[in-house]
């Protein structure tokens, strides 16, 4: 019996590996980063009960548990291709070729870039890049930054920068153009922020967001949104300003911002410069699913899940034989959901390899994903459950079609 291969050593991949190894099977986890933990590594926030969710500690403990369970982890190993030959998956890394009957893709998410004039200057980086530099590599991305893009991820990371004593001049919108459209529309952004208002430390912001339950109130909110923004953790969040250009000679020296109308149009003559030595671009996360595409898995675009996701069922199994998915590749959610999805995928794989016997554990694990989702502190999309429901429907349609073809 060969070993199960998992691509991605983040919370989903590691928890799947632990689950499979604890059932007595051999597991190899491959990841291209230099430390195990994936995007969990950068996470740092205070939970409502006053405890800190420390991504580095959580990652270390997952890696430790995996190693104790006998999991082999190969770091700093990029996977360049996968293909199915006969009845096996062939995984090509830069140094070796691996074979397996059961392959789990837990490749996580990537950040959507927002093209803005000047964005190739050294000092411009994705907001996740600044998070990794600060919390994982422990080097300041700069002394004073501007964050372009107002969303759950950028607000959370702004706070992390603040904790590390890095000055954030403001969080603001990008100038509206075709690719930035949604991120640049104040109304859209306001809508997406309202469901995370419970994270705001100010009672005023919490109360304000409760009042914004209908469109008229939201429109009023945007129209009268203070030009200099409202402050969250002492950082101005400006929904009525947009970055029109990032400037600097050979590196970032600042951004040019302008006032925008409630619908996102730049008001001429309002441009001003804000000095900064780094700029974070925050376009939000999307499932990183290239390997599933290479493997021939069908995809569906589901807005609520963050983009194109590979088709899969509740047991994290795709319609492609021997191919499973778990974590943010299945939709953008927090690390705790990824962990419970990893457990489910791990059980489904072990059940298939061992020829059954784990059905009730799988049902329990599926129920646990739902509970974790309901209790999640950070929800990246308010309608994530609706997204999952759509996916389930696509799965059933796909199954019915396959049956029809077979008949």
């Amino acid at each position: 019996m060969g070993k199960v291969i998992i691509i991605g050593a983040g919370p989903a991949g590691l928890s799947a590996a632990i689950t499979i190894a604890e059932k007595g099977l051999d597991v190899l986890v491959i990841d291209e980063y230099m430390v195990g933990g994936g995007r969990l590594l950068g996470q740092l926030y205070e939970e409502p009960n006053g405890n800190w969710w420390n991504g580095i500690k959580e990652s270390k403990s997952l890696v430790e548990r995996a190693k104790n369970a006998g999991v082999e982890i190969q770091l700093h190993t990029p996977v360049s291709n996968i293909e199915r030959i006969d009845d096996e998956w062939v995984i090509y890394t830069e140094s070796e070729v691996h074979y397996t009957s059961h392959l789990l893709l837990a490749t996580g998410a990537a950040e959507t870039p927002l093209p803005i004039p000047g964005w190739t200057l050294p000092g411009v980086m994705s907001v996740g890049a600044a998070q990794v530099m600060t919390n994982v590599q422990r080097v300041k991305p700069g002394n004073r930054g501007v964050i372009v893009g107002v969303n759950v991820l950028s607000s959370a990371i702004a706070m992390e920068l603040k904790i590390a004593n890095i000055d954030v001049a403001c969080i603001t919108l990008p100038k509206m153009n075709i690719p930035t459209e949604k991120s640049a529309d104040p109304m859209e952004v306001m809508n997406s922020l309202l469901h995370v208002s419970h994270m705001a430390p100010s009672a005023f912001v919490k109360l304000g967001s409760k009042l914004m339950t209908n469109d008229f109130m939201k429109r009023m909110g945007i129209t009268f949104f203070p030009k200099n923004g409202v402050k969250m953790w002492d950082i101005p969040i400006m929904l009525r300003k947009a970055v029109v250009e990032i400037y600097g000679d050979g590196k970032v020296e600042g951004v040019k911002i302008a006032t925008i109308s409630p619908s996102g149009e730049v008001v001429a003559g309002t441009e001003e410069n804000i000095s900064a030595d780094f700029v974070c671009i925050a376009g939000g996360l999307y499932p990183l699913a290239e390997l599933a595409a290479v493997a021939g898995c069908p995809f569906y675009h589901i807005e609520e899940l963050g983009g194109y996701v590979p088709l899969h069922n509740e047991q994290m199994q795709t319609p492609v034989e021997g191919l499973y998915v778990a974590g943010n590749i299945t939709g953008i959610e927090g690390a705790k959901v990824a962990i419970s999805q990893g457990v489910t995928a791990g059980l489904a794989i072990a059940n298939d390899v061992l020829g059954g016997g784990l059905e009730s554990n799988i049902q329990q694990a599926i129920a646990d994903i739902e509970t974790t989702r309901d209790n999640a502190y950070i929800q990246f999309h308010p309608e994530v459950k609706e997204g999952k429901r759509k996916l389930q429907q696509y799965w059933e349609e796909h199954q019915n079609k396959s049956v029809a073809i077979t008949l």
Partner: protein, 113 residues
């Protein structure tokens, strides 16, 4: 000059015990073992990792987790190594990339104009 976050209010202090010496474009720098090439250079105030092959404009890290390949450098003669994913090591010889002669672009318009 160092931009390292030595004492973080929540996270553990970093291990500064193992210092490595490496070169970037023939200049010597010191970094910490277990940090990435990109982090070691940024801690030394170096943001520009290469110049674009066609336009010659400076580039640094963008995604910092290996997706975008903006941070590609040469390490001990091997091209296309991602500085954000590669741990810095003692004696590493790192070189940035520069503008290349390109045959990709259609130059006719600019020649006629």
């Amino acid at each position: 000059m160092t931009n390292r976050i030595l004492n973080h209010p929540v996270l553990d202090p970093i291990d500064e015990s193992e210092v490595v010496t490496f070169t970037f474009d023939n200049k010597e720098y010191k970094g910490l073992r277990h940090e990435s090439i990109a982090a070691a250079l940024l801690a030394n105030g170096v943001r520009t990792l290469r110049h674009h092959e066609e336009s010659g404009t400076p580039r640094g890290i963008y995604c910092n987790i290996g997706h975008c390949f903006e941070c590609r450098v040469s390490v001990n003669g091997e091209q296309g190594v991602r500085a954000c994913l590669t741990p810095v090591q003692e004696g590493m010889n790192i070189e940035s990339g520069g503008k290349l002669l390109t045959t990709v672009r259609d130059w006719r318009a600019s020649q006629n104009g």
